[in-house]
Symmetry: C2
């Protein structure tokens, strides 16, 4: 992609309402555009990151046997009256009347919809366990939307739902999802801390939040340091909580192992038994022809929020530092002297050769050297190939690692080889 043709309106200015760093950087890097309070449009740079996150999440869901569906965003109030949440959900639920004055809502979560599909189509225990998920937009009418897409009203989530024959099977699925979440975040270059959580509005009696570590996080985590090197199975029972649940007197944790970190919630899983299957009368027949109400769980990853959370956990004072797995491009080529014929030839040659194997943003714009370098650091692509008059006369270009700022002086051929041979 040529930067001169890429719609990434970078900027030096940020609106005063952008108080957290991810919000500031997403605006400055031209990733999002505000439509209304807590509602954003996503621009091409952000879309590329979103697509990579979605691909990783979908792949990990598929590995645990969860099948992709799509629930409608607009749902009839009737369905939510069956579970009792139409009244209890409060003002965060965006309620809508259609042209025939029917009561509808914009889905804030989908336990009801998933259970409704289950009861329509699944009638025998033989089809259990069943896991369904979707990646879709939801709406929660937050009273104080803030921090950009971190706490928006319209937001993208992966939400999954499981149906099991009994408690043991439900627990097995819960652990499978737990393990898969750790992997999902690790693949994005993130460390996720699973903390015991309050099931809140979803209900039920077992719940974990997944918090990624970020100095600017809104939560404070207290956890046993051994968590970081434990297997996922051990992690289920190792102590980790957010500050609202922490009590230094009773916490079962040796003083020398206590870790305190800031975190951002990016995932949340729940086991809630028959909380929805019973009121919605969703059952199958068991081996003996008796009614069996499936034991359910639900599992969320906040995808739009995750984009901001990754920035909170990976940036410096010059801009974003994308983990390679979710970077909008693998590498950017900066031609510092766009008017110089040799620079143009070399940059174009690098672009054509590397593009065959990697996603490359070639900054061919006629702007100042300073602006070009600043934009590259701001946008945060993991590797920068810097083509400049002086080094080119020596037959070299610079290869800069955005994260470490380490610079190597290499010939164009060496750089091409670096990015096109297998392995880095």
């Amino acid at each position: 992609m040529l930067f001169s043709q890429f719609f990434a309106p970078t900027s030096r200015d940020v609106p005063s309402e952008a108080v957290v760093i991810s919000h500031q950087l997403m605006i400055r890097a031209g990733m999002i555009s505000k439509t209304a309070s807590g509602i954003y449009c996503w621009l091409p740079l952000a879309m590329r990151v979103m697509e990579k996150i979605i691909a990783i999440v979908a792949d990990e869901q598929s590995k645990i046997g969860s099948q992709r569906v799509l629930f409608s965003t607009i749902q009839p109030a009737e369905l939510w009256k069956e579970s009792g949440r139409y009244d209890s959900y409060g003002k965060e639920m965006l309620r809508i009347r259609d042209r025939k004055d029917g009561e509808f809502l914009y889905s804030p979560t989908n336990e009801e919809q998933a259970t409704d599909i289950f009861r329509k189509y699944v009638h025998s225990y033989k089809y259990l366990p069943l896991m369904l998920y979707q990646i879709h937009w939801k709406f929660r009418d937050e009273i104080r939307p803030r921090f950009g897409v971190m706490r928006g009203r319209e937001f993208l989530m992966k939400d999954g739902y499981s149906f099991a024959r009994n408690f043991a099977e439900a627990q097995e699925i819960y652990q499978r999802v737990f393990h898969s979440y750790i992997n999902t975040f690790r693949r994005m270059g993130l460390i996720a801390i699973p903390v015991q959580a309050d099931p809140g509005a979803i209900g039920g009696n077992m719940s974990h939040e997944f918090q990624i570590l970020a100095e600017t996080g809104e939560s404070t985590l207290f956890y046993d340091g051994r968590l970081l090197n434990a297997s996922a199975e051990e992690q289920l029972s190792i102590y980790a909580v957010t500050d609202d649940r922490y009590d230094s007197q009773t916490a079962p944790i040796p003083k020398e192992e206590l870790m305190v970190s800031k975190g951002i919630e990016v995932g949340h899983i729940f086991y809630f038994g028959t909380k929805y299957s019973k009121p919605l009368d969703a059952y199958v027949l068991d081996e003996n022809g008796n009614k069996l109400y499936p034991e359910m769980g639900s599992y969320g990853i906040g995808i739009s929020r995750l984009i901001a959370a990754i920035i909170e956990s990976s940036h410096d004072n010059r801009g974003i530092i994308w983990p390679e797995a979710v970077a909008p491009f693998d590498v950017t080529i900066l031609n510092l002297h766009q008017q110089d014929e040799e620079c143009r030839d070399i940059a174009l040659k690098l672009y054509q050769a590397i593009s065959s194997k990697r996603e490359v943003l070639y900054d061919d714009r006629s702007i100042s050297v300073g602006e070009k370098l600043a934009d590259a650091d701001l946008i945060g692509i993991p590797y920068q190939i810097i083509v400049g008059q002086k080094k080119i006369r020596e037959g070299k270009v610079e290869l800069k690692n955005r994260k470490t700022s380490n610079v190597e002086l290499l010939s164009p051929e060496e750089v091409i080889k670096r990015f096109t041979s297998n392995g880095e």
Copy 2:
């Protein structure tokens, strides 16, 4: 994918409200589940088709230089008051009040949103032309939603927007999109007829609809048969209209070339000049520092509708016949005798070998031979590999082409080679 673990609730029954064949087949094949009038959930089989269509559409958009964004589904009324459409759009617009009693709506189209983003970020003629598109859900509160997802209220579209310096550039883009649409539909195995159209609510003075041929189509097309073999550039001016615009007295078409076919609208493109850029005061500065209002166009493909339209244009009395490019799986293996050890061994071997290169649905369910064959024809995967006791004793399996019903008797090795070597 093992069918025993695949959530595709096939059925013999269809609700009486399903009057068109695509609606009936989508329900019978377990592709969609109704949430409310004109609102559906999409089940795994449909999701696989949708993802393939999205991939083709996105690839063709990228080829013409259009960049992917995502507009919000919920938009402030204020923006639509600027264009005048908040009042003129009528009851098809789903109007919403948020918790603070602010006026919002669920986006039915995005000329305003696209123009708003343009005016915020693009200030110089140097950045023109610009093309943006999204693939996202919209809502139109139809008074009579019908025909399943063919005329739903919540629907998935690709909608694109272009901004050009002048009329000539706008026309060049219009032609580029026109050509790209023909290719997009052709890649899905469809013949699309571009017909001169009425710009309707979008406005403007140049518009084409793309209709795919289907005997059960809702539109009647009158066109010059030479259209079918013309280049896309020639197609722009060859006569083709829907019945509401046809007049046999004045139609500029030789009698012997007149073709009459049924069609289904799946795409619509518009050129409308400065209809939105002027009222929204979206301008750039030209070479001389003067205001230049971009000449705009918008370009839609109805993706959820297309899934139904493909079924209308490609089915028989046994079920769906997916064109290969959009089929949910490339091939299905039917093991007719799941209890027979040799059949199980051969079917599993075929499944493992072919899965390495192709998407395979292996029907390993313990159901009757008749049900298995009927489900395969209903679901419409292009190739069926039928493993049965009798033929296996002769060292053969059957390879059936769903479309032609042609059956070949081949050894398992020959079938594996057919699907795993390059080319078919």
